[in-house]
Assembly symmetry: C2
Homo-oligomer: 156 residues x 2
């Protein structure tokens, strides 16, 4: 029997993008607003001493039937290899979790304006952590060519 | 009324560290094992083409009463500023979520041996994503001095 964990959104995404799209995320104006019934601006005190935050969010628009457990071609591109769902960052994944590092533009009350958040309007936010350089990958990094190609227009 | 989201672990952490400690995480032998009732090695196909993974985990040892919603001194150090729970990475946070980038040592069947995972024995794993350089912070990063000091022995 699989254990079940209860999570509550700490806030929601306001985004000019209403439906999922693959690319061009940097151009989309995006804001996170904390749940005012549970949080006060205290929860964000000192956040502007950091340049970036890491956001964990719940991709609630992904349908159960779409979730992949095994291997698939990223973006259904048959010319790219068949790789496991945990060897790609596609949205149709178990638990529907997303995590992205984005740049803080401003913090006002319970609202954080950001650049580079690949989450659409209404997305529940589960956690916000400050980006800390020591949490970057240790040692040299390596990724396959298909991933570099996939990312070409992602942030434009 | 706050929305509730159901999440199921995709696997668990095996670690030589049985109780939470602040520092010296790199030296701790750590492995992730996927839930064999739901996943096959297909889910990890192609993962070794990447050097690092990002792991989202649930810090289930954190007691409800310990969770901080507002501001606190990181590690209770009164000489460090009072900062919001979302401006620090301490474990006593709403939703108890952790996320860390760690180096892949090997992948065998449903097991991933890693270096640099700050999660203790039995921690439920909620997602694994490959680290992709394009998901690093865009533009220059900035963090306060107390955080740099806090991280001094974290990975040793």
């Amino acid at each position: 029997m699989t254990e079940s964990i209860q999570i509550s959104p700490i806030g929601y995404v306001h985004s000019a993008r209403k439906t999922p799209e693959d690319d061009f995320w940097n151009a989309v104006p995006t804001e996170i607003e904390l749940d005012a019934s549970r949080f006060s601006p205290d929860s964000l005190a000192g956040l502007t001493d950091f340049s970036h935050i890491e956001v964990i969010f719940y991709m609630n628009h992904v349908e159960s039937e779409a979730i992949q457990m095994g291997a698939r071609h990223p973006r259904n591109r048959k010319d790219w290899p068949l790789v496991g769902i945990f060897a790609q960052r596609g949205k149709n994944r178990p638990n529907r979790l997303g995590t992205t590092v984005c740049r803080i533009l401003s913090v006002e009350g319970l609202r954080i304006r950001v650049e580079g958040l690949d989450a659409i309007q209404g997305t529940p936010v589960l956690d916000i952590k400050p980006w800390v350089d020591e949490f970057a990958p240790q040692g040299p990094t390596r990724q396959p060519e298909w991933m570099t190609e996939l990312m070409k227009n992602y942030w434009k």
